[in-house]
């Protein structure tokens, strides 16, 4: 049985509800879980499922996404044959701007023509899970399906498996058969296709708003969640940085937190996610904080329910208090309070 799969990541998603975090990046490139970007999860899932040709279709602000992915080396996708492909949309914002839009695939139809993989997985870029697509494909073949939609508790995860030949037919005829997106094919019931559902029962979080970003980030502190997302057998790959181990100073107090490398922790950190190379000053208290890469917090601050994007600088004696429903978000590179020269 030919079980080879092509991986398609639709990274065009754009939500106003997460505006503060996508000023300079696409949703796929939002930092998540201390050292990852959202796209790392589906991309690693594809690689761990044996997919060795992955095409990414980005649309807005994809500089940081390209910078993150590079040649695909970290995912073992820098191959002579197949590997990682990047297909930005040549069109500006318009009515075709939807997940699984056939027009964006048609713009790069040669990729599909040249691929020899029998099946294709299509997924969005901002779903956090650790799923084995081989199991989905097996189910798809056994049930004799034309298109399989992956769902969680009845909701679509915007992940589909279908034959590459069928996808090519759908793409090449989208302007005369009335189906312009994959979603229409699955949901409008006009087609003669056998549509199946694959109910996934593992942990899933879809990040599409500040609230969901905050809630699901803190979800990672539950051992049952991180154990499921980061199993040894199916690791989540990401761009590596040569940061040293994190240093906990004598004055540090850290509880129930996830901390990446390269940090210097002098203060009090509780229920928080700390990204790489963050500095937390003395006598500062952080609770329910998401502190992204290279941010620094001075001394004697109190931060409660906050999200600090990358390179945020906070002086000393600052107080920032948000709520669980409405965390305070400081955008990338912002400066709060008076900074003491170090």
């Amino acid at each position: 049985m030919n079980m080879s799969m092509l991986g398609i990541i639709d990274a065009t998603a754009h939500s106003q509800n997460i505006d503060d975090l996508i000023q300079n990046r696409s949703m796929a490139a939002i930092p998540f879980g201390g050292r990852y970007r959202l796209i790392d999860f589906v991309l690693s899932n594809l690689v761990n499922s044996g997919v060795d040709s992955v095409a990414i279709f980005p649309k807005y602000q994809y500089r940081s996404l390209m910078d993150h992915l590079g040649s695909g080396k970290e995912w073992d996708l820098n191959r002579k044959r197949d590997g990682l492909f990047f297909f930005p949309s040549p069109h500006l914002h318009d009515e075709y701007d939807e997940f699984g839009s056939f027009r964006q695939f048609k713009d790069h139809f040669d990729y599909f023509k040249r691929s020899r993989q029998e099946y294709t997985v299509i997924t969005n870029s901002h779903t956090v899970c650790n799923i084995d697509f081989c199991k989905v494909l097996k189910h798809h073949i056994e049930m004799g399906c034309d298109v399989t939609e992956i769902t969680k508790e009845g909701n679509s995860l915007q992940m589909y498996v279908l034959k590459t030949s069928l996808l090519k037919d759908l793409i090449s005829s989208y302007d005369n058969n009335g189906f312009t997106t994959l979603n229409q094919v699955v949901n409008e019931g006009r087609s003669q296709l056998n549509i199946c559902e694959y109910a996934y029962n593992g942990y899933v979080s879809v990040i599409d708003s500040i609230q969901s970003y905050f809630r699901y980030s803190l979800d990672l502190l539950k051992p049952e969640v991180w154990k499921e997302l980061f199993p040894k057998a199916a690791p989540i790959y990401t761009k590596v940085k040569d940061e040293p181990p994190t240093k906990y100073l004598k004055s540090s107090y850290v509880r129930n937190s996830m901390i990446a490398n390269g940090c210097r922790i002098e203060g009090h950190v509780e229920n928080s996610i700390i990204f790489r190379a963050v500095h937390i000053g003395k006598d500062t208290v952080i609770k329910n904080g998401i502190i992204m890469q290279k941010s620094t917090v001075g001394e004697n601050c109190v931060l409660d329910n906050v999200i600090l994007d990358k390179d945020v600088k906070i002086g000393s004696h600052e107080v920032l208090k948000g709520t669980m429903e409405h965390p305070i978000v400081l955008r990338k590179g912002s400066v709060q309070g008076v900074l003491i020269k170090s």
Binding site: G33, G34, I236, T246, K250, V254, M258, A260, G262, I273
Partner: protein, 392 residues
Amino acid sequence: MKKKCVAMLLAGGKGSRLSSLTKNLAKPAVPFGGKYRIIDFTLSNCTNSGIDTVGVLTQYQPLVLHSYIGIGSAWDLDRKNGGVTVLPPYAESSEVKWYKGTASAIYQNLNYLEQYDPEYVLILSGDHIYKMDYSKMLDYHVERNADVSISVIEVPWEEANRFGIMNTNEQMEVVEFDEKPQNPKNNLASMGVYIFKWSVLQEYLEMDERNPYSSNDFGKDVIPLLIEEKKKLVAYPYKGYWKDVGTVKSLWEANMDLLKDDPELNLFSQDWRIYSVNPNQPPQFISAEAEVTDSLVNEGCVVYGTVQHSVLFQGVTVGKDTFLKKCVVMPDAVIGNNVYIENAIVPSGMTIEDGTVIRSNPELEEVLLVTPDYIRQQQVAARDAEVTEKRT
């Protein structure tokens, strides 16, 4: 293609005094500093000094070292022209030529150097922890028009008898070399870092090889011969952190040095990064019951217990109600619940059963190496003590 300076990194050492830590791997591959292996420091120094052609000479237990170095991409040494080349001993016509000493190791790879036709050859050892800009030493070597430059560091007088001591004149020219002298006249120790003029290196290695009485060692044979022949040897004074982590205790001490508030060897500085093969591990998780202070902790660690003044490498698990103090815990070690360990090195992949207590004798100031053998001995001793107690 011609290169100005090519580095030859001697990485074949067994490091016998590191006991079972080097049972299955060469000393340069021994883990250090929560994330690194000893050789990372020398390789990163090369990259940061702009030296892009490095021959790594291996011999003892090379498997881990070879797979770790790979094609050198971790240090940005995967180059089309130059880059890193691993040079193990090889068979020639009828016999396998093992590297007898440091000099014979280089001699047997003169053909590697010939293909780059360098002006200078930098000889390094993969056994030391330090940050050094070799390009500055090369400038000094060129400026002094020396045949050989030897990097030296001031060591405490009372320890000078453990090192190769360089006796110099006022122009910093080396007039005498004392290997581990009883009564040192100087406290300038050789760091095992040499820059040779390529022509001088070729000539003297061939001369040394022809001498049947030579042990083919740079320190013992080649350097004294060069002094005797009145070649121009200059000492290059180095200031900064430099440590030979040759024993279990010195390895532990060098790890503890990193925990100082302002350590002499700063791993955090951006301008002289120490590169290494990055393990792909999730961030470290510090649980609600855990306490971590005054420590270095790497990715992939899961801590439920108390960790004080310790270095935890990637993937270490520390169980509930466990107490670690002044410990170096190497990659993927699993420490159970209710464990107490103080002043110790726990090697890679060790599993410590629940309830184990490992405490060194505080009067001896010893550092324990917690191996499976050590644990077995402890258990036997405990059982014997129990038996004796029952009898009395």
